[in-house]
């Protein structure tokens, strides 16, 4: 029988190796798999390349992973957010690398990585500093830049509900990058609020089919990043 469930967040992240590329779901707090990130801090892998839209807040979750010097490079669209001081400080000191990618190009590159599209053209960033050094091609009279698909060794994502096959549904705007990151990683690790029997998720409403999922751990009462940040919490 297929059952992708594992018993703990520690077990879920156990195989993440030094130097891995790790996609982490979430747009700000919404969809951020904070328990998986904390387990990754405990696990100790370092020299990671992390793909996320932002760089975390306060001193928990992604910001804590960065603060603990586990991340050598961020690929993201918006590294400055409210309560975000960890990344800016390291970046200013030259201690972390940044690949800045327009948000839609980031999403499309991740989707392309998962869909077997090695490269595509887009109008986004044409004529701007973010297109410098990139191939530009005119198609039907408009200029486009060539962008490459993005893959990862691991994706860490959060969902609302999962079954043993790895079928997932999400909650509201916490869906954001998770479905495409699940597609783009060699190994996709999921924290779910609810774990249900196969067949309890209507096949018509599955957002991420199980084929894109490898390991599932139930975290039924996830922490709220904004509450931790407001309370001044620091992880670990």
């Amino acid at each position: 029988m297929i059952n992708k469930q594992v018993n703990s967040v520690a077990q879920a992240v156990a195989n993440i190796h030094d130097g891995a590329t790790v996609m982490i779901g979430g747009f700000g707090e919404a969809g951020s798999p904070i328990e998986l990130i904390h387990a990754l801090i405990d696990q100790g892998a370092k020299n990671l390349t992390v793909v996320n839209n932002n760089t975390g807040s306060g001193h928990v979750g992604l910001a804590a992973l960065i603060e603990n010097k586990r991340v050598s490079k961020m690929i993201c669209s918006f590294p400055r957010t409210a309560n975000s001081t960890v990344f800016p400080e390291l970046y200013t000191k030259g201690e972390i690398e940044l690949e800045l990618v327009p948000q839609g190009t980031l999403a499309e590159r991740i989707r392309a990585g998962g869909a077997g599209v090695p490269a595509f053209y887009t109008a986004t960033s044409v004529g701007t500093p973010l297109a410098e050094g990139k191939e530009v091609r005119s198609i039907d009279g408009r200029d486009y830049v060539l962008e490459y698909g993005l893959k990862a060794d691991f994706s860490l994502i959060k969902c609302l509900r999962a079954d043993r096959y790895g079928n997932l549904v999400y909650n509201k705007t916490a869906r954001n990058f998770a479905p495409i990151m699940a597609m783009a990683a060699e190994t996709t690790i999921v924290q779910t609020k609810e774990f249900v029997n196969a067949g309890e998720i209507d096949p018509e409403v599955v957002v991420t089919p199980g084929i894109f999922v490898d390991q599932i751990v139930t975290v039924d009462s996830p922490l709220h990043e904004s509450e931790l940040v407001a309370a001044g919490e620091v992880y670990p």
Binding site: F27, G28, E29, A30, G31, N53, S77, F78, P79, R80, T81, A82, F87, P88, Y91, T92, L98, L100, V101, P102, Q103, G104, T105, L106, A107, E108, I110, R111, T122, A123, T124, S125, V126, G127, T128, P129, L130, Y170, N171, K172, T173, A174, R175, N176, F177, A178, P179, I180, V207, H224, S226
Partner: protein
Amino acid sequence: MSEEQNFGWNREQMAERAAQDIPNGAYVNLGIGIPEKVVRYVPEGREVIYHTENGLLGMGDAPEPGMEDPELINAGKKNVTAIPGAAYFHHADSFSMIRGGHIDICVLGAMQVAENGDLANWSTGNPDAIPAVGGAMDLVAGVKTINVITQHVTNKGYPKLVEKCTFPLTGVGVVSRIYTDLAVIDVTPEGFKIVELAPGVDFDYVQERTGCKLIAA
């Protein structure tokens, strides 16, 4: 009503003026800042659908206090609601709406707009600043009509409407119309053209505060 309304438009009035140009049935994306206020001023009898690039079509008002859901936010990471008839989707689908030309109007803030429609609104180019772009470049490349709401001049009094942007560009030749505290201005093949002057403001006053030649209404 505040005294200053006798001269120019305040932020609320700029948003209200921009809202008047959004037709019934339009799909609209609003940038962070003054553009977010546009949602409050949609004229009676029109229904407009708001898109937020983090995965929601049919964004509604801010929630009642105590009803906030940290998993229901907008692109500015503020709490929002969803209207009956809304839809959630992932980021690639969301940006397909933007980049595929499906959003009718986007209203954005600006640091500089050039008379050919070039927009700079993401970076001062200061090498010490942390660069951050978000979805701005996708929006200006993909949305059918890009309108801008901005103060006519910077805090230090420098023109924001210029012959050529000195800040790094967000997009080339993308802006259609600009709503400032002083005027509504169209980007035309001949350059900036005044559409409407704010109360108490005359052409010369606007021209003096603009970095290139204006065309009168």
